[in-house]
């Protein structure tokens, strides 16, 4: 591995469910410290990309390299050990457990209590809700608050890469704002994030790079701000009429 090696690279990745292919040759690169936002229509395979990286779904062909190491054959647990944390699209908190217990579950694979306490403090600095509502049942929080705790929980492993799957989906505008503020907080903390977002405008706005996924292939990549200014992207995904 050299210093130029990207943190994550997908090369001609195909994957799917049963006999059908959802990803049909995806090429994507994520550099350290970047937030890369993947946008695209429903069914284009955005969430599937994240699943192939975290190991929830195996690849049929192609290569997934992390820190230069081929990881496509590793179990999801092994990828967690490498520092790849997946925050899925559906609400992933444990509703009958307190916020504190949910945070502790984020450190499930750790055994060093001192380290866990330090990570908890660090997460609480970025996301005060973790401390303020520590004893509240996670299921009693608003949608936005729950997403904040999910993101905070992902920090318990001090991850090298966070996979964020449509964090704003199904949330009201106020909660959506909270979520994107969380993503910004992660960015300012120097985290590397692969973000999948239906809300393309907000997603690209907080991202350093963007990729447009269409029918299982990356159709376009560029800086987040450049994609926001791209008339074709604006027409297709940002709800702006072409000039």
């Amino acid at each position: 591995m050299t210093s130029n090696t990207p943190l994550l690279s997908l090369t001609e990745v195909t994957a799917g469910y049963g006999a059908g292919l959802v990803l049909k040759g995806v090429n994507l690169t994520v550099e350290r410290g970047q937030i890369v936002c993947v946008i695209g229509p429903n069914g284009s395979g955005k969430s599937t990309v994240l699943k192939t990286v975290s190991g929830l779904l195996g690849v049929k062909s192609g290569s997934v390299r992390f820190n230069g190491e081929e990881i496509s054959e590793l179990t999801s647990r092994r990828r967690l050990d490498l520092g790849i944390v997946h925050v899925p699209q559906d609400r992933s908190l444990f509703p009958g457990m307190s916020v504190h217990e949910n945070m502790m579950m984020g450190a499930f694979i750790l055994t060093d209590h001192k380290l866990i306490a330090e990570r908890m403090e660090r997460a609480a600095e970025l996301f005060p809700i973790v401390k303020v509502r520590a004893n509240a049942l996670a299921g009693s929080l608003s949608g936005g608050e729950q997403k904040q705790v999910e993101v905070a929980r992902s920090l318990m492993l001090d991850p090298a890469l966070i996979l964020l799957d449509e964090p704003s989906i199904g949330l009201d505008p106020k909660s959506r704002k909270l979520v994107f503020e969380s993503v910004k907080a992660l960015a300012e903390d120097g985290r590397t994030i692969l973000l999948v977002e239906q809300n393309a405008r907000s997603g690209l706005a907080v991202s350093s790079m963007g990729a447009v996924l269409e029918a299982g292939k990356v159709a376009l990549t560029g800086r987040g701000s450049d994609l926001l200014d791209d008339p074709e992207v604006a027409r297709l995904y940002l709800g702006v009429k072409a000039k």
Partner: protein
């Protein structure tokens, strides 16, 4: 009035024993969504194990629970690992009914071969002792059994609430995919959880064998009572099962005292039918399901 209070005492003590049996059943359902039709057979197995060990060692049946609990834990974990784990997730809930029923029949056959079908009981010498308190009879064995049930439920509670393993179990119950993403090995949790649920049968079996004559076919009666308790409590809620067990214990004892003992068993089936018709999610199903 005396009769009613006496029935309340007896019902409360019996309810505690049902609570212990049902907590294992509920734990298993909570983790794997498996309705374990073999739970009654495991209780009877626990009773036979306790009886055999008692006859062999002459150690008090209550103390023998320390030996029988790990044995039944491994029996349960092995059942899950070898018979339930291979089921396809999509069909697991339905097929597990057949598998656990087959396990119950297999255990019944095995016990019939080993012990015949004669009714047996565990007789340490104090099984018929009673205390008289303010004119009311309190059976010694049932009282100890009640205390044991409370102790086992407290231990189960502490395991679930205060240990990392317990947290992993509750997390798997509430959101299996998320638990897996955080590094929980759902196969191991399921095997341990099933083992833990079956392990409660060791204590329940010892108590059952002390207060009731039993034979290998006794599991049919037990499982029907257990299903009533867990459905009344709300599938997947241990707290609900404990309350339902007390309600059923007291209810059946009152019916027995105020009408005739023969109607006591019928109480369970009447309640089961009423609950399924009126409130199929049970007393606490909607509120605390998934929270164990």
């Amino acid at each position: 009035m005396h009769l009613v209070v006496q029935a309340l005492i007896l019902g409360t003590l019996t309810g505690g024993v049902y609570a212990l049996m049902a907590s294992g059943q509920t734990l298993i359902f909570g983790i794997m969504k498996v309705i374990n039709l073999a739970q009654g057979a495991y209780v009877v197995l626990g009773a036979y194990l306790t009886m055999s060990l008692f006859q062999w060692t002459h150690i008090d049946p209550f103390l023998l629970i320390l030996l029988t609990t790990p044995i039944l834990f491994f029996v349960g974990a092995a059942t899950q690992w070898f018979l339930l784990r291979p089921l396809r997730p999509a069909d697991a809930t339905e097929l597990s009914l057949l598998v656990t029923f087959a396990v119950a029949l297999g255990l019944e056959g095995l016990m019939s071969v080993m012990y015949k079908t004669t009714l047996r009981s565990i007789q340490p010498g104090y099984e018929n002792h009673s205390w008289t308190i303010a004119g009311y009879q309190v059976n010694e064995v049932r009282f100890y059994a009640f205390l044991l049930s409370i102790a086992m439920l407290v231990i189960l509670y502490l395991i679930l609430q205060k240990t990392k393993f317990g947290r992993a179990i509750r997390a798997t119950v509430q959101n299996p995919m998320s638990a897996q993403l955080l590094g929980v090995n759902s196969n191991l949790v399921s095997a341990f959880g099933f083992g833990l649920g079956v392990a409660t049968s060791a204590a329940a079996g010892a108590v059952f064998g002390l207060i009731t004559p039993f034979n290998p076919g006794s599991h049919y009666d037990l499982i029907s009572r257990l299903l009533t308790v867990v459905i009344l409590g709300g599938l997947g809620s241990i707290g609900g099962s404990v309350i339902a067990a007390m309600v059923m214990g007291v209810g059946a004892a009152l019916v027995s005292a105020l009408s005739a003992p023969v109607w006591s068993d019928f109480t369970f089936f009447a309640v089961l039918i009423i609950v399924l018709l009126v409130r199929p999610r049970g007393m606490f199903g909607a509120k605390v399901r998934g929270a164990l």
